[in-house]
């Protein structure tokens, strides 16, 4: 592991999730009885290292946004722990009340998906970007805040005069830059970016991503980059975590995940990425069938077994555990090592 000179290497981990579960109770009937739970996040253990970009990828509804919100303390944690290595020492965020969480919010900030609903239309850019300062840097005078906002705007590639304008006067990409400026106002160490570019045009996506990358280098940020677009994640992430139905399927360094995917779901995701290669054989791609099961009624055992091309009998029985399959590379599939073999077996059974 390479240690960076400017950082004291004590513990590399800045954020650690330990068997995190976020279940939303569902009430139904006349008496609003508790009829079940939506298991949005269902037991995730994950470490985020200081200074890295961790990509979290998965289909819609796999719980990746809920994961981000749980870290931000915006949804109640059902069980499990979130450890954060704050400037004031190690803290367990999951047990904190809203008031107790507040001092740590200046260190963890969020960038949101929809650049149109994430900025209050009635506030000027100045008011939007300075809001975190008003909450956390109460000693700042309005003149100091104005200067700080101008500095932030220039940092994200906007002009300082634009502070007087209102959100409706900006394009989607510019609005997302404003959102990034707001998230940087308090000099945070961790940014949770929840689908920050999926609402943008492809050409604008690249600009915003490059901005985030250069800001990360400049400000020594740790970024949790949540996205459903696997090629975007590949581009920005140092490591990738693949989620399926509230669970982690696979975690590893980006190049390893993409060059040697282990979990059948990761393989399916990667094969679904369109590649500009006309000679690519059609047979080499295989497509997932069926829909994601409801997170209210998850299959027993492995959540992916209903769509898995190599599902075995024991998959319905045992919940797969994350097992090490390489250097810093873990996957939750006991049969992953025999993927080709099992796939071959199945297709020959189908043929006969």
């Amino acid at each position: 592991m390479s240690s960076e000179p400017q950082k004291p290497v004590t513990d590399d981990t800045i954020l650690e999730l330990d068997d995190l579960k976020v279940w939303f109770p569902v009430h139904g009937g006349v008496l609003s009885r508790h009829v079940g739970d939506v298991k949005a996040v269902d037991g995730i253990s994950l470490k985020v290292k200081a200074g890295e970009t961790l990509g979290v990828v998965g289909e819609s509804g796999c719980g990746k946004s809920t994961l981000g919100k749980a870290i931000m303390g915006l949804v109640p944690v059902t069980s499990g722990k979130i450890h954060f290595e704050s400037e004031r020492g190690k803290v367990e965020l999951s047990g904190l009340s809203r008031r107790a969480y507040r001092p740590y919010r200046s260190e963890i900030q969020m960038v949101y998906q929809d650049p149109f609903s994430s900025l209050n239309p009635r506030l000027s850019v100045q008011e939007i970007v300075e809001e975190p300062l008003k909450v956390h840097q109460t000693h700042m005078s309005s003149e100091e805040r104005r200067l700080r906002v101008e500095e932030l705007l220039e940092k994200v590639g906007l002009r300082r005069e634009q502070a007087e304008r209102y959100p409706h006067e900006f394009s989607g990409g510019q609005r997302q830059r404003i959102g990034i400026a707001r998230s940087l106002a308090t000099n945070p160490r961790v940014i949770i970016a929840d689908e920050p570019v999926s609402a943008l045009d492809v050409s604008i996506q690249a600009q915003v991503i490059n901005l985030m990358r250069s800001l990360q280098r400049e400000l020594d940020l740790t970024i949790v980059f949540i996205a459903h677009d696997i090629s975007v994640v590949q581009h920005v992430s140092d490591r990738v975590a693949v989620m399926y139905l509230g669970n982690l399927a696979e975690v590893g360094r980006t190049h390893e995940i993409f060059s040697a995917p282990t979990h059948p779901y990761t393989r399916a995701l990667l094969s679904a990425v369109p590649r500009p290669d006309p000679d690519l054989k059609r047979e080499k791609r295989w497509v997932l069938e069926g829909d994601v099961p409801s997170p209210m009624a998850k299959p027993s055992g492995c959540g992916f077994r209903t769509r898995c091309p190599i599902a075995q009998e024991d998959c319905a029985r045992d919940v797969p555990v994350m097992a090490t399959v390489g250097d810093q590379h873990r996957a939750a599939c006991p049969h992953a090592g025999r993927f080709e073999e099992l796939l071959e077996e199945r297709s020959s059974n189908k043929g006969s």
């Binding site: 969480y101 609903s117 994430s118």
Partner: protein
């Protein structure tokens, strides 16, 4: 996107649209005239007014024919009433009373409605259910009947009692609109963002949610002012409004009904005053509704 124009807030853009609406501007002119009369009555009419009313002729003439004058005579362009009081003077001084009742009654309704509506919308759950059922209950009463009921509790209704009664009857309309607006924005990302910053619920309500209710609230308030002016006139007509000799427009209508055949001007002019004032507020309110409509683009 044009880079030359300076930043305009949504409110400023709505006001710009309002200025282009001729009918609404007509309404605004009427409203301004009423405000002017209310604040500077002595600039408009020369006759003196004291707290008890205007007596110019009654002491000097003996027979009714001598002091009950039709419109058009010098010094009394709208004639005099049954006691010889100048009708124009009473209408001008009545503007202040109508406006006070309309504005303060609406302000009371806004205060209650904003607080209860925003709490219901933001908190949700049981508190929302409780407040919403309360507003439903208030809506179930005919509003005039409810006002009469409240006023009946007091022996001598004065202005403050009427303000409170009108506000108490009008708040459910405000509460319902504010609740709907707050619910529609409660889950939006900018509210989530404010929470993620660690803003308190109170700050989120004051700084983020209520400013976004501005448009609908301004519209409903303008229309409510008109409604309250009418309600006060109605109450006075029914004899439970402000006591004589206060020159309220409704009061003048009541007083005129005995002399309707011989002195129709006693009723016609206060009636016209009520009509134009209410029309003015309604035109302005409709214009504001169009101007604040998010679907409107200029």
């Amino acid at each position: 996107m044009t880079e030359v124009k300076i930043g305009k807030s949504p409110t400023q853009m709505a006001l710009k649209r309002l200025r282009k609406n001729l009918l609404a501007m007509g309404g605004a002119v009427i409203v301004l005239i009423v405000f002017f009369l209310a604040f500077f009555p002595s600039w408009v009419v020369p006759h003196h007014v004291d707290g008890s009313g205007i007596y110019t002729y009654a002491e000097q003439f003996r027979t009714a024919e001598e002091y009950q004058k039709p419109p058009g005579i010098p010094g009394h362009p709208l004639g005099t009433d049954e006691l010889g009081r100048d009708v124009l003077t009473r209408i001008v001084y009545g503007a202040g009373i109508s406006l006070r009742v309309g504005l303060v009654g609406t302000a009371v309704a806004l205060l209650i409605g904003l607080i209860l509506g925003s709490i219901a919308g933001y908190r949700g759950g049981r508190i929302d259910a409780l407040i919403s059922r309360l507003t439903d209950t208030f809506f179930a009463f005919p509003s005039l009947l409810l006002t009469i009921g409240i006023l009946a509790v007091f022996e001598k209704p004065n202005e403050v009692v009427i303000f409170a009664a009108l506000g108490f009857v009008g708040w459910p309309g405000v509460a319902r609109i504010v609740r709907g607006q707050v619910i529609s924005m409660r889950g939006s990302e900018f509210v989530l963002g404010a929470k993620a910053l660690g803003q308190s619920d109170f700050r989120i309500l004051i700084g983020h949610l209520l400013p976004n209710c501005l448009g609908p609230v301004v519209v409903v308030s303008t229309l409510m002012i008109a409604g309250n002016i009418l309600a006060e006139a109605g109450l006075s007509f029914l004899g439970i409004g402000l006591p004589p000799p206060i020159p309220s427009w409704g009061r003048m209508l009541v007083d005129s009904k005995e002399y309707w055949v011989d002195m129709p001007w006693m009723g016609i002019f206060p009636g016209l005053a009520i009509m134009f004032t209410v029309l003015g507020f309604n035109l302005l309110g409709d214009g504001l509704r169009d101007a604040f409509d998010p679907k409107m683009k200029d």
